[in-house]
Symmetry: D2
Subunit: 382 residues, 4 copies
Amino acid sequence: MRTIVFVIINRANYGRIRSLLLKIKRNKFFKVKIILASSTLLRNFGKIDEILRKDGLKVDYQVYNHIAGENNETMSKSVGLLTVELTTIFSRIKPDIVFNVADRYEILATAIAASYLNIFLVHLQGGEKTGSIDESVRHSVTKLSHLHLPSTEAAKKRIIKMGENKKNVFNVGCPSIDQIKKINLKYNVNLKKYNFGVGYKADLKKPYIVSLVHPVTTDINESPKIVNLLLKIIKKLNYQCVWIWPNIDAGSDKISKIIRKFREQNKDKTKINFYANFENEDYIKLIKYSKCLIGNSSSGIREASFLKVPSVNIGTRQNLRERAKNVLDTRVNELDIQKSIIKQFSKKINTSSNLYGKGNSTDKIIKILKNVKLDTKKIFID
Amino acid sequence: MRTIVFVIINRANYGRIRSLLLKIKRNKFFKVKIILASSTLLRNFGKIDEILRKDGLKVDYQVYNHIAGENNETMSKSVGLLTVELTTIFSRIKPDIVFNVADRYEILATAIAASYLNIFLVHLQGGEKTGSIDESVRHSVTKLSHLHLPSTEAAKKRIIKMGENKKNVFNVGCPSIDQIKKINLKYNVNLKKYNFGVGYKADLKKPYIVSLVHPVTTDINESPKIVNLLLKIIKKLNYQCVWIWPNIDAGSDKISKIIRKFREQNKDKTKINFYANFENEDYIKLIKYSKCLIGNSSSGIREASFLKVPSVNIGTRQNLRERAKNVLDTRVNELDIQKSIIKQFSKKINTSSNLYGKGNSTDKIIKILKNVKLDTKKIFID
Amino acid sequence: MRTIVFVIINRANYGRIRSLLLKIKRNKFFKVKIILASSTLLRNFGKIDEILRKDGLKVDYQVYNHIAGENNETMSKSVGLLTVELTTIFSRIKPDIVFNVADRYEILATAIAASYLNIFLVHLQGGEKTGSIDESVRHSVTKLSHLHLPSTEAAKKRIIKMGENKKNVFNVGCPSIDQIKKINLKYNVNLKKYNFGVGYKADLKKPYIVSLVHPVTTDINESPKIVNLLLKIIKKLNYQCVWIWPNIDAGSDKISKIIRKFREQNKDKTKINFYANFENEDYIKLIKYSKCLIGNSSSGIREASFLKVPSVNIGTRQNLRERAKNVLDTRVNELDIQKSIIKQFSKKINTSSNLYGKGNSTDKIIKILKNVKLDTKKIFID
Amino acid sequence: MRTIVFVIINRANYGRIRSLLLKIKRNKFFKVKIILASSTLLRNFGKIDEILRKDGLKVDYQVYNHIAGENNETMSKSVGLLTVELTTIFSRIKPDIVFNVADRYEILATAIAASYLNIFLVHLQGGEKTGSIDESVRHSVTKLSHLHLPSTEAAKKRIIKMGENKKNVFNVGCPSIDQIKKINLKYNVNLKKYNFGVGYKADLKKPYIVSLVHPVTTDINESPKIVNLLLKIIKKLNYQCVWIWPNIDAGSDKISKIIRKFREQNKDKTKINFYANFENEDYIKLIKYSKCLIGNSSSGIREASFLKVPSVNIGTRQNLRERAKNVLDTRVNELDIQKSIIKQFSKKINTSSNLYGKGNSTDKIIKILKNVKLDTKKIFID
């Protein structure tokens, strides 16, 4: 029997591994412990603890470590503080395995605490290229991890090139695709559940777009610029739009401020409907039935490609990530963005992409976690 | 003009970059800031601040971050705490460059603080293979760094293989060799300066060996075993021996305890002379005139190879590090160690090895730091 | 010459000691160092650094220590983190004196760092009674402080009763009164400077009230209830109202949420004009010309009493603080609050109260700081 | 049923409340949780976890928070770090009561975490006078605590004078006296259990003294001076002496160094037998059968007075603590100390003092903890 700890850092994290968590906790070979940290505990960013509880998952530890300020300084300090606290908690749990997801800046804390304590560290979705600080974090974590579960073949190759032992690198696809396959996609979201958010009340039976812009940590001015342009364009086009709040990150409060100001000044003049957050299943449905997904979120590249939904990817945040044909990239420029949105709005996509897997990641992962030798000695493979 | 911050974590760190520090601080192109942290501030491990002051170097910041306990848990927490504090300090200094040395577990703190703050991060001596947690830390830091200054060709290749841009990877050799070249090696150390340490008073005009055993963080029992055997063997052989205290690390107090106990029980029965610490120059002289260097320190591999001193490398700590012909590796086994010591004690080495450089690293490094473009954007080079 | 460090934790702190800072920095006997921490660095709570710079004051250190979450847990952890960082900074500055203001929960960090480092600790405004966690913090800090500068006679007596040496306890009055006396009160604020805030645009030539409700840390539900009632009542009375955002505290985001929701639902239906923050001088002017000040802020008791402005003090937050006749206390109850507002709205107050001093605190304080013997030994006086 | 958390910070802490812990854990009304922190986890200072386990007590959480350096700076930072971690742990346990012991600098961390989280905080042994930083800490904690359990009448009066509600102040005596009463004092310690320590092997059947000198945090030079004098005097008098290692504190490594040096230089020349640590029961026996107890430990004042053992109290550390007639105070002066030792060595004391209680504290405390109203609102009682 193996004790496995999952550290969940934000709502996207949870979205990615939800199907895995729900399945592994029913598997008697594993004893699952869940630690919530960082923005998962903050109301503005969707208190994930309540969502987990609804999903029947028990939260074992909560760590408030997010230092306010939303800048590079607080990002770095938050990681330091999280390292301290996760170390105490891991030392108490003494798990066999620690499971780390993706590439948020906080995951270096999990990686340090686990690897320094000689605990077998698993990294989901290493090896991808994106070109921001996320990329450095992701590869840095790879070099501390003992088992790698990338989502694509290219990512797998990169991990091996970095000197990792290929016996411990498996392309499992992205478990968020599993998640999608399990959702009953016959119906769209009931927005009443979210009190219809703020601003215009969207009618999802009519055509609509979804917009989601996160801060770009390497260029603090990029996202505010995107948000300004996007609000203006959507107002001009007069499309129905469901707009979702950004992740908590260096720069997120700047974006929030722009949105709030726009809302105050454009009351009743746009069809934009703002939401702090959606439950994961609802988010998938929302995308599924949208005309297109706009912004710089990775879901425009991963989830949307499988869902056959066109997306407009703006700016540098997803720069180098592998993408299927549903994605139209555009620079941060009013005209370009507008043209791209119009184009994608009426595009039809016929086949679902398997670039990020076929939806069988969860079973693959559980099998690997069951059988992998928990060896924490590592040597660079020349 | 460029402001450059050096974070010094332990006495070995300082030894490695002393010649660089002394030269760069006289260069008007650079404004040098020095931060002392971790074991550099602890008396038992040689308060480095006094040594720096004697060398004419100003300490700008001191950070007590070493959490007592000397185990894996405190190692990890100490890194977290250091990350928090270095972030505050770097944000205040706003340097152009942060300079990180080698592979101690603390250097991940420096790397996170600098890279998250978008400060150009330089890493000296990345790319080497050693097979312990140090190796994971070293490579992990590589993936956060912007400029790499490895010491050997093999290390350089490894860094490039890991996806770093070869324009930013330079084999500069090891600056500790520069250090050696500048020392007046005509005379041996005057042990009076150290009050002749503790125990037997060594006479350096007669043949002697030097012994230095550090904790092995991946196997907490290895070093105590080595120390026990080594004390016994040296007593048996009745060689003159200068024994130097270990680094502060998970496991160091276990070693200290063994040494103390041995000392109490073997008073006047051995020719072992114990020292907490030597100034760097004296340490080099001491090795230079010794019959051989014994233990698991990297100086048996680096410095000794240039100094033409035989060394006995015991156990796994330096497992995979590149070595010249002066090194004889041995397993942790009484008979093997004893045979190796006897063999190396009478060996003569005629040519100095250039595996770790020719002693011109300092100038190379300063030139690179002057001209390198301070670009903090990074992309994995496939 | 004496080096004195001021740690400023929030905008109210700065308001209280602004006149002191401006005067002491021109005094050659003192070398002034200013550390900004906690909410002073957060945009939502009025970035104080910009205000200080406008005032010609230099910020020497900035410490991001505010852990997001706005609950009791993050309050406590923020204090711990601040203690760590202030210790490093105080150890670097080596000041003769550390100056601590009032009773926010963060001031225990300043008090611990200074007293443990044997630095002479001054506490402004100890000894008051308020009945919340602030009160415990305030008295706890008293027992760590070496010099006490209370604002009232009753406070002075309490400090001496607690065993402090009366030679080190001086009633200096409240320096915020000095501040008021120096302001040119001929004109009211120009709201254009604040872009007229959000919502209704107040016309300060017509009668208006000022509303300011802070979280009550001992009863997390009290303030939301007050805010709900107050918004409703002011809407009903249709008074012009300038509403100011709360302090960052456990509970502040709950208040913010209520306000935002109200604003969205009552657009154009009220005469409430919302502001994140005012510069201190403008805040004083705003009160001066208002009909009355409503809420649970201490300024309704201190500043308003000197300014001859009626105030309605709601709920338990200022429970036990000494008050002049301008204050009308009321319970958290719709009818009571409404009656009190109507009553105070038309009250006239003729004489300024000297309960919190006559406006000569600054000079008194500087004189004491100059002459006090910096003795850090303390004994309980029975 | 009430959940009660005990935070144990050092071996003296545990000694004081051992009898309470053993009894309360068998009481079904209480659910006991034990947190070990600070020096309790460090080998050099007697790893308390093993002692607790032997006593049948379960350690629920371990917190490494002691930052190495043994100076005022690390003292303060250790408290900050402990505050952060205890907050996370208390928030997880959600206890009804937190129990804080005596006056070590770390207890402010416990007090802040508990009081800020609105948890009912009990303080054992507040109100005493000692005149060092301990005194400030002790009184500062009093002002954050909700229930006070002082050991003497004078202490009780002082707590009430400080404005605490007398309904929540109980003189329960010192539970260390209970502890003593339960020990089988017929036999002295078997030193073999401790491998006869280091140095001379004491024969406890012959007359001997016990020596214990802790650092004095307000005057870093006092204790080294005492230790130097004391070693010299005991050597001169040629008394048998059992010497116990100091607490970990700012200054403790200075003392350790002096002792080690003395030991190396005076091998076989004295009858001093050094021990790192004794189990509590053995410590009591050791004192009981000694001729006198020498140094600056509080046990010379508390335990010794009940045990009818003369003590020599040197220097300022226990300056103002209430004492019975067994104590002879002396200044830090060779002649004075020597005379006092000789005098006390041959003194006979006939009656046990009840100044610190009669040995029924444990029952009193449990009764109070069972019945006290857990009200966390506090107001200064004028």
